[in-house]
């Protein structure tokens, strides 16, 4: 990874965090907000594989854990996104690139990410996490993230291709 690539990826993650916290909540009418950062992490894992996916997932998750108005125990989104980045990166090797495969990967990643975050909250006894609340939030979040897919994933994939056009890593 050259400096340019690191800067570009960092910038993209920061923009995603800002949009998710500052803009998306006012645009959607429900209290569940599309998890733009998660979709970006999934797209990056799809483009570069498990190692990169987990790394970006950790950084993006930590940003989401620390940026205001986050109030939960820091590290919970980071843990969830590391796992999602890794699993999506691994799954990418087994499936052929297609629209359907992309949607399925995002849906699976969203389900795993939101559930892991909720689960870590239940284990830690963080405030407000109830089984009923989780059952309400997870499907809606999944739907939103899938809706975000056509807007976000092609953009991220195109950006990653421009950053490293020649090398096609496994």
């Amino acid at each position: 990874m050259t400096t340019v690539r690191v800067l570009a990826v960092t910038g993209l993650v920061m923009v995603a965090v800002t949009l998710q916290l500052g803009v998306l909540p006012t645009l959607v009418l429900t209290d569940v907000v599309p998890n733009l950062v998660l979709v970006v992490v999934i797209a990056m894992a799809m483009s570069r594989g498990p190692e990169f996916g987990a790394l970006v997932g950790f950084a993006a998750g930590l940003a989401l854990d620390l940026a205001p108005p986050a109030d939960h125990t820091a590290g919970r989104w980071a843990l969830a996104f590391v796992v999602v980045g890794y699993l999506v990166g691994m799954a990418r090797r087994d499936v052929r690139t297609s629209v359907l495969a992309t949607v399925v990967l995002v849906a699976a990643g969203s389900f795993i990410g939101t559930s892991l975050f909720a689960l870590s909250g239940l284990v830690l006894g963080d405030q407000g996490v109830t089984v009923g609340g989780v059952a309400h939030v997870v499907p809606l979040a999944l739907l939103y993230d899938v809706l975000l897919t056509p807007l976000v994933v092609p953009l991220v994939l195109a950006m990653m291709r421009r950053l490293e056009p020649a090398v096609a890593r496994l």
């Binding site: 108005p69 986050a70 109030d71 919970r76 909720a118 870590s120």
Partner: protein, 299 residues
Amino acid sequence: MRPDERRGARRPHTVVALLVLASFTVITLDARPSGDSPVDPLRSTAGAVFGPMETGASAAVSPLTAIPRYFGDVSDLRTRNTELEDANARLESELRTSALARQRAGELDDLLGVTEDEGYRLVPAQVVAIGAAQAFSRTVTIDAGRGDGVRPDMTVLNGQGLVGRVIDASRSTATVLLAIDPDSVVGGRLGRTMELGFVSGDGEIGEDGRLTLELVDDVVEPRIGDTVATWGSRGGAPYVAGVPIGEVTKIESSPRELSKSVVLTPYVDYSSLDLVGVVVGTDSADGRVPVDTAARSAR
């Protein structure tokens, strides 16, 4: 680095294992029940970086997000837009911005009305970011921070009533825990009988968001329509006294529990928070307004 095939297949596991361990470390460091966490400096750094970015992003889209709020139904708006054609677009957007400005001025007036009676000094602030339901806690970011005199454990209110309290403040932004959060407990007083209780939230931000008042004295009979206001703590932290919280809409008493649980509808609409005020101080040092005895004896 360009790992060969064999190493490339093995290495991710090591990296991922390390990252998972790192996440656990952060969680462990931050999960202490006591107030101080070693992660707090990181958190305020993140606040200093992301706070202004959130403020900017929120300001950039505020005319856009104001549309559904001030013109009601979005579909309604679409029909109207097609009728008015392109020529009206520029004029319309100007109108929207001025309506937004007028609305904000009205909210500021309400805010001043609340504070005039109580003698609080307020810092006005705009809500710039809202925590998602996926995070399971009800918090918002406001665009006033330590630079404006905002500190943790300060009361946040708006023209309607109590919004919540500041739990964290960076240089230019602060995080507010809403009273509707399940983790929030506010000392409340029944307006009619002055009885004390504890108000907690249910985490629902929309129309069906309700607060629960647990009365200390179970003999008290609250009535539907009674007002509940904060009872206030010493030094006004975290809540100053006399801020309206909500109205009694339902009373549930179970034979198992000793105290009654009273359901309140909050005065504040937590889903459309915009302009809020942070109580940064009261006119007198200890929160007491001095009684002017000289004026009375002169009469």
